[in-house]
Symmetry: C2
Subunit: 419 residues, 2 copies
C-alpha cells in the first residue's frame, strides 16, 4: 500500500492479524481420530467428553478415621467426648455389608466407602481409643464432613472436557478416573516448509563467499513442533518462478499450511507474493508489516490454506512465527477455548536500559531475564537484528508497542518468552 | 519427626527440597548421544558447542542498496547529494571480483557480500538514480553501517551453546547457520511409574463399590513427558511388601527415577517408606511435608536413584510432581544453567476472594485465570482437594506460602500454571 505522497504504507501488526484471523473459520483442518489416552497427551479434543457415570460412585472418605452419623457427635469436646461403639472396620475396596445404627461408628481409611447410616467421617486425630469396642470422639463433625459425595466430582452426563481443549496430564488422569480409555482428538496439522534463495546452501555443504546456510528451516521446524504441528521440509529451491510455484502447488495439496522462507531481498519477496497471488484466491492478504524485526512478512490464504512468506532474518522468523503463524496453526489444530494462555508465553519485567524505537512500528528486542531484589528485569542484548546468535542468548523478546517511541530504564515491558 | 510434645512435626517444602537437591550431584544420569539437529529439539546439550568458523564469513549487507566507502558519503544531504559512479552489481551468492575505488559504489542486495574498498551500505531509499552510471546519495552513512562484519555473529572457536542447555528452535537454527548438523545431547531419562493399592483398578475394568480407578499413573505419564522424561508404566500392584519390593527393585535397575503412586492410606504409605528404606542407602529422606495438598509425600534416594512415594489425591500428585520431582528430573536430564525459568510456569495474579489457610503449611489452590480491566485475577475453584475434576477446570494453582494464614481478596499471589 502507498499513502497520498506515494510512500509505502505498512500495515500494523494488529490489522494484519485481524485480516488473517477473519479467514480462520474456513481454514482447512485435519481429521479427528480416536486414540488411547496414553497417546493423546498435548492433542486437542475434537468432541465434548461427558462423564459416563457418577464419580465417585459411592460416598468416599477423604481421611483416615471413623465413619459416623454426624448427629452422634454434636456437642462432643475433649472434656465431654461422645462415646461410640465400633461396629466394624471397612476394608479398602470393599462395600460395607452393614448399616450403622445410632451410637455406632466404623473404622474407615482414606478412599473407603461409607456404610449406610453414616454421613461423615471423624478424623483419627480427633478420637481416643477407650477399648477394643469403643472410642471417644473429641470434636463434632458436620454432615458431609471429610466425605466426597456420590457424583460430587462428576455427575453422569456432565461435560468434563470440552471439544477444542488441549489434553493436559491432569485431564488424561480425570478421563482414566471416569473409565474413559480413548479420546477423539484432531490429528496434528502438516506444515510444509519451503526454503528458497539463490544464496542459501544446506548446512552440510561448504559455503562459498556470498552464500549463507539454510538457518530458518531449522528454526521453523522447532517452532512448528512446539506449536503442535508436524513440519514437512520440502527442501531448498532457487528463486525461479516455475520451480517455486511447483513446490508450493504440491505443498498446498499435501499440507494444511505452507511456509516459504529464505531469501530476504525485495526481488525474492516479490516473487513469493506473485506466486501466492497466482495460486488462487484470496492470495496475499498483507505484504509488509510495521514490525521490527519482521517488516517484509507476507501473509496469505489460498483455497483455505494459509501461506506465509517469512523474512530472511533469523530473529524475524521467530517473532513473525509467534505473532502470525502460531495463532493460525492453533486454530487449525482445533484449539477452541478462551483458556488463559498469554501468561504461558509472556511475562512482565522492567527494562534494564533506555531503548529508542522508530515511530509507527512494533519492535521486539532480544533480552535476558534476571531477578534483582525480587523483581524481574529484562536486559536487552546488544547486536544487530540480522545476527543468528542473538536469540540463542535471549530468554525472550521485549515488546515496544506501536505507539511508543521507546522505553525508559525501569519501565515495565511485556516479554515474550522464547521456549 | 515428632516435637517435644510428641506431635508429628512435618518438614517444610523448602527444607525437603534442600535435602533432596543435596543429592543432585550424585544422581544417576543417562548417557550422551550424537543426534542430527533435526532430532534434537528440546533435548539437553551434553557438551559445549563452539563455532567452527567466523559467522558471517564475509562482510554482509543487511539492506538493499549500494555498497560504498562511507568517507565518500560524508556531508551528503538532499540539497547537496554525493554523486557516485555505479561500478557493478553484486550478485547474490557470489564473491565480487573487483575493488571499489574512491567515488565508486556497487549495487548490493540484503545478504550480499561487500566488495573490497566498501565499509558500509547506503539504503536504496537514501539514493536517487541520475542515469545508468551514476546515483545521488542523499544521506551519509557511518563506517560499518548496514553491514554485519566478519565474525560479528560468531567468532571461530567461540562457545555458541553451553553444555546443559535445552535446544530451542532458534538454537537449532544457529547451529545450522554454523554448518553444525549434529549435536551431542543427553538421552531422556526413563522414569518408572508403579501404581499400588488394593482398592485401585485399571480404567478399562469395571469398578466395584469401594474401588477407584488408577488415575495417577495417567497424570504422571503426562507430567513426565512434559518434563522431558520417558515414562515407563510398570503396572498396578496390590499392597504386599514382597510384590512391591520386587517391582521397585526391577525399576531401580532399569530406570533413572522411580515413582510409586496409588493408595493414600497410612498403611500403604508406611509400606512404601519401609520398602524404600530396605532397598538401600540413604533411603527415605522425608516422609510428610507441610503442604496441602501433598502432606503424605515421601522422598528418598536409593543408590543414587531418586524414589518418590506420591500422595493418593490427584491434585496432590500434580502439586508434588512440580515441586519435588520436576527439579530432580531436570537435573538428571542434564539441565545445567540458571536460565530464567520460573516465569514460564508461574505468574502473578490478584486472588478473587478471601482464602484462609492452615498455619505452618504451604497451600496450593486450583484457580481459573481471567483478565479484568487489564489485570490478571485468579478465581479459586470451589471443591474438595480430593476431586479429580478440580484440576481439569483449573488454569493453575495459587500458592499460599507457609508463613501466611490466608490471603485477602485482591492480594497478589503466585500462580503456578498447569500446562
Amino acid at each position: 500500500m502507498r499513502d497520498m505522497l506515494g510512500r509505502e504504507e505498512l500495515i500494523t501488526v494488529e490489522k494484519a492479524l485481524e485480516i488473517l484471523l477473519s479467514y480462520a473459520p474456513l481454514l482447512k483442518r485435519p481429521d479427528e481420530i480416536l486414540l488411547p489416552i496414553n497417546d493423546s497427551y498435548g492433542l486437542i479434543t475434537s468432541r465434548d467428553i461427558n462423564s459416563p457415570e457418577n464419580l465417585p460412585s459411592f460416598n468416599r472418605s477423604t481421611v483416615d478415621g471413623f465413619a459416623v452419623n454426624s448427629a452422634d457427635t454434636f456437642g462432643a469436646t475433649e472434656s465431654f467426648p461422645a462415646y461410640l461403639n465400633i461396629k466394624a472396620e471397612i476394608l479398602m475396596g470393599e462395600e460395607p455389608q452393614f448399616k450403622l445404627e445410632k451410637g455406632e461408628i466404623a473404622k474407615i481409611a482414606t478412599g473407603g466407602m461409607l456404610p449406610e447410616g453414616a454421613d461423615s467421617v471423624v478424623m483419627l486425630e480427633h478420637t481416643q481409643r477407650v477399648d477394643e469396642k469403643m472410642i471417644e470422639v473429641l470434636k463434632p463433625v458436620s454432615p458431609g464432613e471429610n466425605v466426597i459425595q456420590i457424583g460430587e466430582d462428576a455427575m453422569k452426563g456432565e461435560c468434563i472436557i470440552r471439544s477444542g481443549h488441549r489434553l493436559r496430564p491432569q485431564d488424561a488422569g480425570a478421563l482414566a478416573g471416569l473409565g474413559i480409555t480413548d479420546a477423539w482428538v484432531y490429528k496434528k496439522p502438516l506444515v510444509s516448509v519451503i526454503s528458497t534463495g539463490d544464496e542459501i546452501v544446506p548446512p552440510d555443504k561448504p559455503v562459498r563467499p556470498g552464500q549463507v546456510r539454510d538457518i530458518n528451516s531449522y528454526t521453523l521446524t522447532g517452532l512448528i513442533l512446539n506449536a503442535g504441528g508436524i513440519p514437512v521440509k520440502k527442501g531448498l529451491f532457487i528463486d525461479k518462478y516455475e520451480i517455486i510455484k511447483d513446490v508450493v502447488e504440491d505443498s498446498l495439496r499435501n499440507s494444511y499450511m505452507v511456509l516459504i522462507t529464505g531469501g530476504s531481498s525485495v526481488g525474492t519477496k516479490d516473487l513469493t507474493a506473485k506466486i501466492i497471488n497466482d495460486m488462487g484466491k484470496p492470495g496475499v492478504l498483507f505484504h509488509g508489516v510495521s514490525l521490527k524485526p519482521g517488516k517484509p512478512m507476507i501473509g496469505g490464504v489460498v483455497d483455505n490454506i494459509p501461506i506465509f512468506g517469512l523474512p530472511g532474518h533469523p530473529a524475524a522468523v521467530n517473532v513473525c512465527f509467534e505473532i502470525f503463524i502460531r495463532p493460525v496453526l492453533e486454530i487449525q489444530s482445533g484449539v477452541n477455548e478462551k483458556r488463559f494462555d498469554r501468561g504461558k508465553r509472556t511475562i512482565q519485567a522492567r527494562i534494564a536500559r533506555n531503548i529508542s524505537s522508530g515511530p509507527g512500528r512494533e519492535e521486539h528486542i532480544g533480552v535476558t531475564l534476571e531477578e534483582r531484589n525480587g523483581e524481574l528485569w529484562a536486559v536487552p542484548l546488544l547486536g544487530k537484528s540480522g545476527l543468528i546468535t542473538t536469540l540463542t542468548k535471549a530468554d525472550g523478546t521485549a515488546v515496544i508497542p506501536l505507539r511508543k517511541l521507546g522505553v525508559q530504564e525501569g519501565e515495565i515491558v511485556e516479554v515474550r518468552l522464547l521456549t
